[in-house]
């Protein structure tokens, strides 16, 4: 209701002892929005480009993901080998993304691939990632036709293909990339930042993996 809206907004202004923002006050907040100031620099996020990949891998593993560093040509082989190593079925749900289609899956005779969104019964999904954050070993997934969100969440095992060139230092670097890609005012429907497998500590404060999302996360970090 518009009266509810003005009731709240006017209540705020009354408490702040001012009217609607105007003049310099308004300009200040508008420019703060237009050029967002960054917080204190986190040294860990300012790492040299050469060290970003190693830092990303280190923190991803710290957060219970597994990581394999591979060349582009080896991506399909590594996926098949990972599934075999872990006794996982060779049926996967894959994001319909140009990145993933760029790999030669036809070489994997045993692998059965379904392209589309995630289903409740999926055991394994394969997706790309918009970026990786070295600071915490976090993956960034931007939703879209090439990346259904459900693939990040429903399967038991999530295999992620991340290019080394998409690894950035800190969160702020991801925001810059998102604005470049989607426009300052147009975020994708969902941006999932995911750090390791799903987990819960709700029973006796002891961490168990695989609460609702994947209990296993394997990241293929792909060399150029």
């Amino acid at each position: 209701m518009s009266t509810d809206r003005s009731q709240i907004l006017n209540g705020i202004r009354r408490s702040l002892r001012r009217g609607e923002l105007a003049g310099d006050g308004l300009k200040d907040v508008q420019s703060r929005l237009a050029q967002p100031p960054r917080g204190p620099a986190v040294a860990r996020a300012q790492v040299a480009p050469a060290d970003k990949v190693a830092l990303f891998c280190q923190w991803a593993e710290f957060n219970n993901a597994t990581v394999a560093r591979v060349g582009a040509a080896d991506v399909p082989d590594e996926v098949t080998a990972f599934l075999a190593r872990n006794n996982l079925p060779a049926n996967v749900a894959m994001a319909p993304s140009p990145l993933l289609e760029g790999y030669d899956w036809s070489s994997q005779k045993m692998l059965s691939i379904r392209r589309g969104r995630g289903e409740g019964s999926d055991q394994v999904s394969i997706t790309g990632a918009f970026a990786g954050i070295a600071e915490t070993g976090t993956l960034v997934m931007a939703s879209g036709p090439d990346h259904p969100v459900s693939l990040n969440l429903l399967p038991d095992t999530h295999v992620v293909v991340l290019r080394e060139t998409d690894i950035v230092g800190g969160y702020e670097d991801v925001w810059v990339r998102l604005r470049e890609r989607y426009g300052k005012d147009r975020m994708p429907r969902t941006v999932n930042t995911i750090t390791g497998p799903s987990r819960t500590g709700d029973i006796e404060q002891t961490i168990e993996l695989g609460a609702h999302g994947p209990r296993r996360m394997h990241i293929l970090v792909v060399r150029e």
Binding site: R5, I8, L21, L33, N152, L154, P188, A211
Partner: protein, 474 residues
């Protein structure tokens, strides 16, 4: 939920006599604080980030109207809807209407303290709409018909065996007739049961850790992934958030996220941090068709500009309760309402009334451990003291306390009288206690001597008596 904050003292008795609760609390006291300490040590900039986090929230609160309108504008631009709810009743009505507009029979809920605050579940149930809590802890306590006892670990008061019994009782009808003994089996069973409920739900309802004005996004931080299933699978996503959750930009979010997870669980980052912006886009293969944000005031706008304003910085990490020795002794249910621990002791009197919750800001030693770990540096002891001042001004302080204080104050403001009376008290206590060195009981000190001996002063008089005598000697 119905407040039992007025019965705090009774609740305390129950809590202290509950061995399962005490067992859980003994784990909590060590675990959470140790993990937070380690996480803070791993990030050298942690203290600077806390300062910045405080400043960001202060800036936002000073311009709250602007950022809320900006947030609303962005949500609408991307096809979402914003609803303004001055009161809890308004929010319940708005959400119920939205659910009914899509003929919802079930709502998949991810943990929301604001939903607890407005007693949403009870309301939906009355309307024949089944709310399904999907956070594991919330699910467990929903089955047990209990309120949460902690803002980030709602079932922290329960043991594994209690969870096993609860699951056996409620899952038997679904074909699970074996009592489980392992944690991972309990988690797996809940995952299986809830998975189908996600797929069937008509509406997903989540809270929000932050609302980003710059992008019109709601930001959710979880570890289980249940919030993400709630905002992706059902055809309608409702975000319920209180007005102080808005922050200006994604850069600000980066600062707050860095202190939030470390303060809450000691993690470098929670497993899932999700930005939701509007409904499903053209070409998307999943996502909700409708995206609604309900902005709840419920008295918060009236806290702005008062001496209590700083509590609105709270980002609900739970560090204050994890480090509070009072919470550690009695757990969350004793506080009697939605928000326990130090932040609850400040917020609850605001939301349910100081008459109802008068014990909460009083049940503190002002040890200051909460303030020392608060990621946004809320001076919680100071705010609790402000409540005591308000109570005192309004004559809500118990009569015995007021009378005792008045008497003490009369004497304390007259140093001569004070000296004489303390000299007498000292002599009496010393004389009768000298043989044992202590009292096992004392008149008017039952609160002390019920549990402790009372040390007797040694012979020789008060310090001032002795000092004066020593000065007189040549």
């Amino acid at each position: 939920m119905q407040s039992t904050a007025h019965a705090f003292k009774d609740n305390v008795g129950t809590a202290l006599a509950d061995p399962n609760l005490q067992d859980s609390l003994s784990k909590l006291k060590v675990g959470f604080s140790e993990r937070r300490r380690q996480a803070a040590e791993r990030l050298p900039e942690f203290e600077a980030l806390r300062d910045r986090a405080r400043d960001i929230k202060n800036h936002t609160l000073a311009n709250l109207d602007f950022y809320l309108e900006e947030f609303e504008r962005k949500v609408i631009a991307l096809g979402g809807h914003v609803h303004w709810a001055p009161t809890a009743a308004d929010a319940r009505r708005i959400i119920a209407d939205l659910c009914r507009s899509v003929g919802a029979r079930t709502v998949a809920k991810s943990k929301s303290m604001v939903a607890e605050e407005i007693a949403l579940n009870e309301h939906l149930e009355e309307l024949g709409i089944a709310p399904i809590e999907t956070d594991l802890g919330e699910y467990i306590i929903q089955l047990r018909h209990e309120p949460p006892s902690h803002i980030i670990a709602p079932a922290v008061h329960l043991t594994k065996d209690q969870v096993a019994d609860t699951f056996l009782e409620h899952h038997r009808k679904l074909g699970f007739d074996k009592r489980l003994t392992e944690r991972n089996d309990l988690v797996a069973e809940a995952r299986y049961v809830l998975r189908q409920k996600f797929l069937d739900a008509d509406v997903g309802l989540t809270g929000a850790n932050f609302l980003v004005a710059e992008t019109g996004s709601s930001m959710l931080v979880t570890n289980e992934g249940n919030a993400d299933l709630s905002n992706t699978l059902p055809k309608m996503h409702i975000v319920l958030a209180s007005i102080e959750k808005v922050i200006p930009t994604l850069e600000d979010a980066a600062v707050l996220l860095r202190v939030l997870a470390r303060s809450a669980t000691g993690q470098e980052s929670s497993a899932y941090t999700t930005l939701n912006t509007g409904p499903k886009r053209p070409g998307d293969l999943d996502g909700p068709e409708q995206y609604h944000v309900v902005l709840l005031d419920n008295g918060r706008s009236g806290v702005l500009g008062t001496e209590m304003q700083e509590i609105l910085r709270c980002i609900r990490c739970g560090a204050c309760m994890n480090h509070c020795p009072v919470y550690g002794a009695v757990g969350g249910h004793a506080y009697g309402w939605v928000y326990p621990g130090p932040m609850g002791a400040v917020l609850t009197p605001q939301l349910v009334g100081v008459e109802e919750a008068s014990n909460l800001p009083n049940a503190s030693t002002f040890c200051g451990r909460c303030e020392s770990v608060c990621p946004v540096r809320i001076p919680l002891p100071k705010l609790m003291r402000h409540w005591r001042e308000r109570e005192f001004e309004r004559h809500l302080t118990p009569r015995a306390v007021r009378q005792g204080l008045a008497l003490w104050s009369f004497v304390a403001r007259r140093p001569g009288l004070y000296r004489s009376l303390t000299a007498i008290a000292n002599r009496v206590l010393s004389l009768f206690g000298r043989a044992d060195g202590r009292y096992r009981s004392l008149p008017l000190a039952g609160g002390w001597t019920r549990f402790r001996d009372f040390p007797a002063p040694p012979a020789g008089g008060t310090f001032h008596t002795q000092w004066k005598a020593a000065r007189k000697r040549p």
